[in-house]
Symmetry: C2
Subunit: 184 residues, 2 copies
DNA sequence: TGGAACCTATCTACCACTAGATAGATAGGT
DNA sequence: ACCTATCTATCTAGTGGTAGATAGGTTCCA
């Protein structure tokens, strides 16, 4: 059996990816794990602390799965496939979109500390994407940056769209088309 | 002075665009308008009703501002500029992103009726975009559809990203680059 | 005088969070 | 080997506060 703290993180992540930070409660997590909400507070003192823990774990997992783009010299398709596959997996594994996209969209009512974590997720993703485009030497730095922004935005947007329609296919099509745009 | 019902819709829309459906309350709206929460219930019986009213008004305003793309024969830049300008305005007017993007991202915990309204917003936007691409006769229907999907997803994603960073510039850059991609 | 708009007062259910207790495991000293 | 102290993880019971919602009264204008 997994550690309780891990189970709490898992449950909170699932709920946050369903409806964001404001759509879950300690009680709901407790009920799901057949413990009391006080026990959830034992592991994570405040809701903000739990939210940050979930977001940080998600970010770390995501970045770890990305790896370092600079160390390879594969063709660009390889990176883009890899990147898109991660987003796709996130959605197809349990029908829930990327945590950080969801949280970013309610950033206006999020604790400051969580906004910082989200900004880090975004900037690290962009850095990775820009790095993976570095072997497109026919592009200027500025162009690479912009294309990275487009790719990231489009994937986040597509995932949200796909989750509303419960249709991972949309995500896949946008991803494929994006790949041809970036590798063309 | 505006009608109370309209003021309620305005306040609710602002709050929903800050943090989504779960991040505002009748009491909060009442306080902002210096009335009591019971009076808000007089105008909108349930939260779901208010949420739907806000979403439907937003959708209608947005679609009305879009107009009918088929009736013109302007170059493609015109449509895209027009479309992007709407998203941009939404963000720059009050620093808040598109309502429907935010709500879509918490669709997992939204009343069914609101999900339907959101799907309508999305499909009508895509129809409009596809229509505006119809004078790209060098593209197949399928290609036009995919490019419309990409454009829509990228703009929604970019807006969410921009709102997190309080930086409308990002939105603008993605929009411009997108335009060149569609008009190229 | 009747109805629209708003009120007071209240309800039930839930929220995040805390205090205090307890069972069970672990560790250290004698 | 036993005792003591501490730690972990959970509990019960409760805090003050807020959620959405409602019944019934007041005000005011046409």
């Amino acid at each position: 059996m997994k550690e309780t703290a891990t189970q709490i993180l898992d449950a909170a992540e699932a709920m946050m990816r369903d409806g964001g930070y404001h759509a879950f409660s300690f009680r709901e997590i407790a009920t799901k794990l057949s413990i009391k909400s006080a026990s959830v507070h034992y592991h994570f003192t405040t809701k903000e602390a739990l939210g940050n823990a979930v977001t940080q774990r998600y970010t770390n997992n995501f970045l770890a799965a990305l790896g370092e783009p600079q160390t390879h010299s594969d063709p660009i398709d390889h990176y883009i496939d890899h990147y898109i596959a991660l987003f796709r997996q996130s959605l197809e594994a349990d029908g829930r979109p990327c945590l950080c996209g969801i949280l970013a969209s309610e950033s206006g009512r999020l604790p400051e500390s969580m906004r910082d974590t989200l900004k880090e997720f975004n900037s690290k993703n962009l850095t990775w994407l820009e790095g993976s485009l570095s072997n497109r030497q026919d592009w200027t730095n500025h162009h690479r940056q912009e294309m990275a922004h487009i790719a990231f935005s489009a994937l986040e947007g597509a995932m949200i769209f796909a989750s509303l329609n419960q249709e991972a296919g949309h995500m896949v099509r946008v991803g494929d088309r994006l790949k041809t745009l970036l590798a063309a």
